[in-house]
Every structure is written in structure tokens, then in C-alpha cells.
Amino acid sequence: MLFLCLGCVTLVILSLVSVAIGSRTIPLNEVFHAFSDPADSSVSAAAARLRVPRTILGILAGVALAVAGTLMQGMTRNPLADPSILGLNSGAAFAIVVSMAFFGLNTPKQFIWVALIGSAIAALAVWLLGSMGPSGATILKLTLAGAVVTAMLSSLTSAILLPRIQVISTYRFWQVGGLSGARFALMVPVLPMLIGGLTLALLTIPGINALAMGDELAEGLGSRVKFTRGVAWIAAVLLSAGTTSLAGPIGFVGLVVPHAARLLVGSDYRHILAASAVLGPILLLAADIIGRVLTRPSDVEVGIVTAIIGAPFFIILARGRMLRQV
């Protein structure tokens, strides 16, 4: 409890910092003034108001990705699972490029559905490939299946992009994962997807707790293993596709956060999920702020910062104890 309160306080502070800091730094009292007085039309107030949707998108994306990662790690019992590692992001990216190149779609609203279909198919493919064979979905097999599907989709993506310069210039901005394009009008249609995903996530927690004991034991205890996995998979796809359609592929948040949460609150997935939902936005906002400060006045997109922070973390995990169980 204490931890959750501390986390929430940190989150509030980070949100304020996120509104205050950027290519133009605004003192906190002016930030408060901008929101308490709608008539304030100074440049600082306008900048602060512009950064609000960005901050909110950061919070939404952080919660969604961290919860999706928690679900994926829980249901696969795989400490290296994450929406980007298991191919969901590249599925969404591929589907969006196909829709840009062949169907002439170009509005973010259309991309929501395209991203959803793309990552759902990629997720299914990775799961089917990785769980093939008598020993089921081992860590190495699932990770490799994710890498193989990603390799295939991203080379097909570049094959489609290459002859189409116009599409490349639209796509490359989407592809890195950034919060700078955040607008409330775009977030609203995605909200039901995220809320649906979160609800399903909450519903599957008892099942995932049971899965942690192994499939057979969970079944013996009366848990419906396949059902739990199916629902958790759907929830993870909804959450990560929703985020991806708004902010582009942001990797490694779903990987890092559940581990930090597990270190802090133990192995009960009720606690892990709650802690992840607080830590996720903290990490994402922090990464976004770092990206804004690092190369001022221009930004480093948040997806790049998370990859640079997250990849070493993945390597530490891969070097650790858990690989003996591959």
C-alpha cells in the first residue's frame, strides 16, 4: 500500500514535470496559472496546455504496455515476454504500411483498426509457432518465434516501402514511437479498447496466478488454462494495439516494468498488476522527459529511449538464472 501511494505521488510529480519541461521550460507556478485561469493566453500557457495531451498519452501508453507485458509474462511463464519481443508491434507496423500503400488509408482513426488486426494476427502466429512441439512454449522458442515473425514482417515492410518514397516519409515518423503527435480527438476512439483490455486483464488475474504453478497443477485446481490464456492474449493484444496505433511501436516497457514490480511487491499477480500499472507510466513519462531534455531543442522519441534503456535490461535477464530453464 505504502509503495502504491509513493508510486502515485511520483507519477503526479512526473506529470507536472512533463508539462513543465520541453524546448521551453515553464516554471510550475505558471503551469498552475495556465490551468486555473483559462484567459491566460501567454506563450507559456499555450505550451503547457499543448503538453497536457502528450502527458496523458504517456500515462495511458505506460499503463497499457506495462499491463500487457505483465499478462504476457504471466500467461507464458516467460520472463522475456513483451509486446515488442513477441512480434505484436511489427504486426501492427506491417498492417499499417500495407494499408497506407495499397488501400490509401492515411488517417490515424483508420490505423486503430488496422493496427489491431495486424497485431492480433502476428500474436497468434507467434504463439502457434512458439508452442509447437512436445515441450510446448519454452522461453527460447517463444522469443525466437517472435524474432522470426518480426524479421519476416519488417523485411516485407521495407520491401513494400522501398519503391514508395511518399509512404516512407509518413511511416518513418510513426515507426519510432513518439508521444509528440498526441491529441485528445485521437485518444477518444482508442479509449474503449484500452478500457476493455484492462477489464479483461483484471478478470484473468486469478487464472494467471494459478498458471504460475504450472499448467497441470492449475488444471488440477480447477482453473481453465486454455480459457485464461485466450482471454489474457486478447487483453494484451487490445492494450498494445491501442497504444501502438496512437504512439507507434514502443518497445521494452512491457518487459522491464513487470520485473521491477515483481521485485517490489512479490509474486502475487494481483499486486504485480497494480504495481505495473503505476510503474509503467512512471517509466514512460521519465523516458519521454529524458528524450526531451537530452537533445534540446529537438526530441528523442520515447520509443528510442525505452529501447536503449530496455535492451541492456533484457540482456541482464538473459544472462541471469532463468536461462537454465530454457
Binding site: K141, A145, S158, A159, G251, G303, I304, R319
Partner: protein, 343 residues
């Protein structure tokens, strides 16, 4: 006892015969594809034209088209295909994993990111850019190997570490691409897909020499690779210097890969597919790496013929290999996952 020995030697002879047959037919196929790649194009040339060019008797127009454009292009395709195939097969055999090709374990990403950095930030091109990409690939390989080493060497850990390093390099690469201007993006993304369009004699010479050195160096190591498959302890018992031969194979494979990549860009999936196809063709391990090289040559030459002539527009060769190779890769994955023998 005698009988089993006889049976063994009969089986050995049969597999040797098969390997020779496969290698000879692959070589013939490669030559045919090479020939097709040279004679077809905007204007069709005959065999005598090609011979005239080689003997420098041909009119200057034909000499230019064949001697300066098509012949270097086809020879580069042949050499780089072989290099990709041999490098990929070496990694796959070293790591006991058909999916552990350089495209997955981050080395290709290292060369790519270095090349993007060279194009976008340093503004270099040509041989300088190639050298830069080679350094990028080598550095990445060293970093991945060092990070993997932790209470001994585990091939599976190397795959995971490579995936992470690759993801990180990709992020850095796309960050640089966002800040690039239109012209640089085009040359960078063409480079990233793999294209034979810029081939010239310099590259032919460099890649052919690498191929010759690679063949000479890999052959003796190939046997040790086979013994390493039995496990480190067994191999050491058989007199293999485990650490040394592993390091030698990695260095040779990375050099072959980086030099080929620096000449034509990372032609997708060739290093990935050549090894498994070769193993299926010859059924035995002994000459798998050389066979993989020939399979690689055939893949690149065949894809180049398709890329140039199958449709009205000309594509870079990497587009064809990724459209064909991607699905094949997933099918391959399907089989090796189901058997689990190599995982």
C-alpha cells in the same frame, strides 16, 4: 564387426557421392543463372558476344553494357551470395540452431546501423561506407560475444543477447533516419534492403578474394564444427581446441558477412536460408558449408533475375529475397519447432 564397418563405409561413400552430385549440380545451376543474368536485359546478347567481351574484341557499346554493368553485377551476386551462405551456415552450425543466423543475432543490424550513421551523419559513400559497415558488424559481434560470456558460453544465451542488441541498434538507426533529409533516406533505405545496382569491378575483386580466403579458412574448421556439435567436453576429448576454433569460426564468418554486406547491403534471408536448404540437399554434415555457399549464390542470382525481369519495374534484389524468404523462414521455423531436435 567387419560387416558393420563395411555398411558404414558404404553409407559414407553413398553420402559422399550424393554430396559431390549436389555440389556439381548446384555449381552448374549457378553458372546457368550467372549466364542468364548477363545476357538478358534491355538488349539481349548471345554467348559469342560475352566471349568477345572477355577477349576484348567486342564493339565498345557491348563492352560497356556487359563488361562494366552486367558482368560485375552478376559476379558480385555470385560472390556475395556465397559469402552470405557460408557465413550464415557457420553461425547456424556453431550455435546448433538453424535460426541463429546473423540477421537474428544482431550482426546485420550492427553493419546496417553503422552504414546509416555513415550515410546520414558522416555523409560518406562507396568504399569508405563499406569499411565503416564492416567495422560496425565486427564490433557488434564482439559486443554480443562478450555479453554472452558469463560462467561459460551458452549458444542459446547468445541468441537472446543478439536479439536485444539488434533491437537497440534498430532503434538508434531509425532515430537517425528520422533526422535525415529525403535524399539520404532514399540511399540509406536502398542500402538497407540490399541492392546489386552499384556493383563494379572493385567490389568483384574484394568479394572474390574474400570468398577464396573464406573457403580456404573454413574447410579445415568445418570438421571441428562437426565435433563441437557433440558437446564441448566430447570435442575437447577428441583434441579440438574448443575456445580457439570457436573464436576462429566466428571471426571468419563475421568477416565474410560484413564484407559481403558492405558490397551489396544485407540481402535479406540469404544467410538464413542457405544453410538449412544445403543440409536438406546433402543429408550429411561434412561439406555443408561449401554447399551452403553455392546455395547462397543460386539464391542471390536467381532473385536478381526475378528482380530485374519478372515484372515491368526493376526492384532491388533484397525485395525479392525478403518476399520469398520471409514465408520460407516461417515454414522452416515450423518444422524445426515441431521436431525440436535442433532447439
Amino acid at each position: 564387426m567387419n560387416q558393420t564397418n563395411d555398411e558404414k563405409s558404404v553409407a559414407l561413400r553413398a553420402s559422399f557421392k550424393r554430396a559431390v552430385m549436389v555440389i556439381v549440380s548446384l555449381f552448374i545451376l549457378a553458372l546457368v543463372l550467372l549466364y542468364i543474368d548477363i545476357i538478358f536485359g534491355d538488349s539481349l546478347y548471345s554467348f559469342t558476344d560475352v566471349m568477345d567481351v572477355i577477349a576484348s574484341r567486342a564493339p565498345s557499346g557491348i563492352t560497356f553494357v556487359i563488361g562494366e554493368l552486367r558482368l560485375p553485377r552478376a559476379l558480385t551476386a555470385f560472390a556475395c551470395g556465397a559469402l552470405f551462405g557460408m557465413a550464415g551456415a557457420s553461425f547456424q552450425r556453431l550455435l546448433h540452431n538453424p535460426l541463429a543466423s546473423p540477421d537474428i543475432i544482431g550482426i546485420t543490424e550492427g553493419a546496417n546501423t553503422a552504414a546509416v550513421f555513415g550515410i546520414v551523419v558522416l555523409g560518406i559513400s562507396g568504399l569508405e561506407l563499406s569499411a565503416f559497415a564492416i567495422v560496425g558488424g565486427l564490433t557488434t559481434a564482439i559486443v554480443v560475444a562478450l555479453l554472452t560470456f558469463h560462467h561459460g558460453f551458452a549458444p542459446q544465451r547468445l541468441v537472446l543477447v543478439g536479439i536485444a542488441i539488434g533491437a537497440m541498434l534498430n532503434a538508434i538507426g531509425s532515430w537517425m533516419l528520422i533526422r535525415a533529409d529525403q535524399w539520404d533516406i532514399q540511399s540509406a533505405s536502398r542500402w538497407l534492403t540490399g541492392s546489386l545496382a552499384d556493383s563494379d569491378w572493385t567490389y568483384v575483386i574484394i568479394t572474390m578474394i574474400t570468398l577464396a580466403i573464406g573457403l580456404i579458412a573454413v574447410m579445415p574448421l568445418s570438421r571441428q564444427l562437426d565435433m563441437l556439435r557433440l558437446g564441448d567436453d566430447v570435442a575437447a576429448g577428441l583434441g579440438v581446441k574448443v575456445g580457439l576454433s570457436r573464436a576462429a569460426i566466428v571471426i571468419i564468418a563475421v568477416l565474410m558477412l560484413s564484407i559481403a554486406t558492405s558490397a551489396v547491403g544485407p540481402i535479406a534471408f540469404v544467410s538464413f536460408l542457405a544453410g538449412p536448404i544445403a543440409v536438406r540437399l546433402i543429408h550429411s554434415g561434412s561439406s555443408a558449408i561449401a554447399t551452403s555457399g553455392l546455395v547462397g549464390s543460386c539464391l542471390v542470382l536467381g532473385s536478381d533475375v526475378i528482380a530485374q525481369h519478372a515484372t515491368g519495374t526493376q526492384f532491388p534484389v533484397g525485395v525479392v529475397t525478403s518476399v520469398i524468404g520471409g514465408p520460407v523462414l516461417v515454414v522452416l521455423m515450423y518444422f524445426s519447432m515441431r521436431k525440436e531436435s535442433q532447439l
